[in-house]
């Protein structure tokens, strides 16, 4: 550091927001591709997000299955996986916030007999005083319907989950509807049979048929080799 150099703390990011004027809200219009109609009956509705979970679903659950519909400007694809079960994959945040995406699916959520969400996070973010050695991956749940937790341990405070899954669960709690969120804590290594095993077991418990496929193992996106 040079004498006189101004070092801005990371939270300086807050300052920009404070001083900027918030814009007037303009509602985004969803660009549906395919049917935007809510199905007549929904036995199960599953929201998927994060690259790792999406990758596994595309290769092990959806395979060659074409999406029923898409919302292009929301990063959403909806798949019909049979038996009146639907999978919503949220790939990237575009014109819509997670809250707005959740409200787009309001009629689906209200109609669904059971709603689940699956997300993932780095195991480094998982806080638990009992772990001195963390496993490769583990699943925790946040649910207002204990009968649909399938025996997974609940997520302990102060761990928090954010994203579309958290938004859907919050919305369900607000509407007094049942919903269960599963969070897969996983290390940074590429997807493989070991770290994905808990997730595949979970998918099977949700009565979703799993296809046996081979996944290409990609190298780590980081150039840092230990």
């Amino acid at each position: 550091m040079l004498f006189g150099e101004i070092v801005e703390p990371s939270t300086r990011a807050l300052i920009e927001d404070d001083l900027e004027e918030y814009p007037e809200y303009t509602e985004s219009v969803p660009e549906w591709e395919g049917s935007s109609e809510t199905p007549r009956d929904i036995n199960g509705l599953l929201f998927i997000e994060t690259e790792k979970i999406g990758k596994l679903f595309y290769s092990c659950v959806l395979g060659e299955n074409k999406p029923l519909s898409k919302i292009k400007n929301a990063g959403i694809e909806v798949f019909d996986i049979g038996n009146k079960q639907y999978v919503v994959i949220f790939s990237e945040k575009k014109d819509f916030t997670c809250g707005e995406v959740t409200e787009l699916f309001d009629p689906w959520i209200r109609k669904a007999k059971r709603t689940f969400t699956i997300t993932s996070d780095s195991i480094g973010n998982y806080q638990n005083s009992n772990f001195t050695e963390k496993p490769v991956s583990l699943i925790r749940t946040v649910s207002n319907d204990p009968s649909k937790s399938f025996g997974y341990e609940k997520l302990e405070s102060p761990n928090l989950v954010s994203g579309l899954g958290a938004s859907v669960l919050s919305y369900c709690i607000h509407l007094d509807l049942k919903c269960t969120l599963f969070v897969l804590y996983i290390d940074t290594s590429p997807l493989g049979s070991v770290n994905m095993e808990p997730l595949l077991k979970l998918v099977t418990k949700l009565d979703i048929p799993v296809k046996h496929t081979e996944m290409k193992i990609s190298t780590s996106s980081s150039n840092l080799y230990m």
């Binding site: 300052i15 927001d17 916030t97 409200e103 309001d106 050695e133 958290a166 709690i173």
Partner: protein, 239 residues
Amino acid sequence: MPPMISLDKNVDLSEYVLLIPSVSVGNVPQLTIDLLISTYSFKKISTIWHPAIVSSVGGDPYQSDRSEICTACELHINEQLKVAAIQIRSTLEFKLAQKFFIDLKEALSPLKLKNIVIVSSAFDYELRNFNNEKFYYSSNEKIDEIMETNGIKILEPNSNGRYCINGAGFATKLYEVLSTQFRCTLLVKYVSEGDNRPDAFTTLKKLFAISGLEEKTLNVIFPSSWDFVFGGPPPVGIY
């Protein structure tokens, strides 16, 4: 879409003081509300839904053995104190923030609140002139005397009449919107980032002093979620 706050018909919040924390430096306002809720056994009466709120969910932050789910924005009350507190744990989506303020104002209108106190913190190094305590306020109520007694100085607006408080999050904008309809006070504490638990404690004491509420003589109870302020235990592998 569902109402932002869905209250039971039997809940009457007329003449309640409502505390709203702004997400700001060191999360001091959130820590203050946490202390208030755990020490005075506030009860949750509603979740607050709005697409502007960046959702987050987790276990009960106050008692880890309970199965209650914590969401990003919730309304808690204490009937004896006649205090209501919104606990907001995440920031607002930039494009929806203004809509959130207006919708919140509409949602609070029928509740007939006594007044609203917006609690905020700001960057310590931005404060040029200060004496012992770093509390500042702005209010549309005549509370100069009680503020002076408690060593809280008035915030001075810029030459354009607006408040510029670096690090205070949405506090000033929310104050601008709510003060048009409610008796409203903005309380700001200038803090440094680090272990902000003492800041939360002094903010709580200050809130009680200015709200004319009787302070509890019992020890302050820290919520169980504060156990990991500095993260979990280190992995054994590093030794």
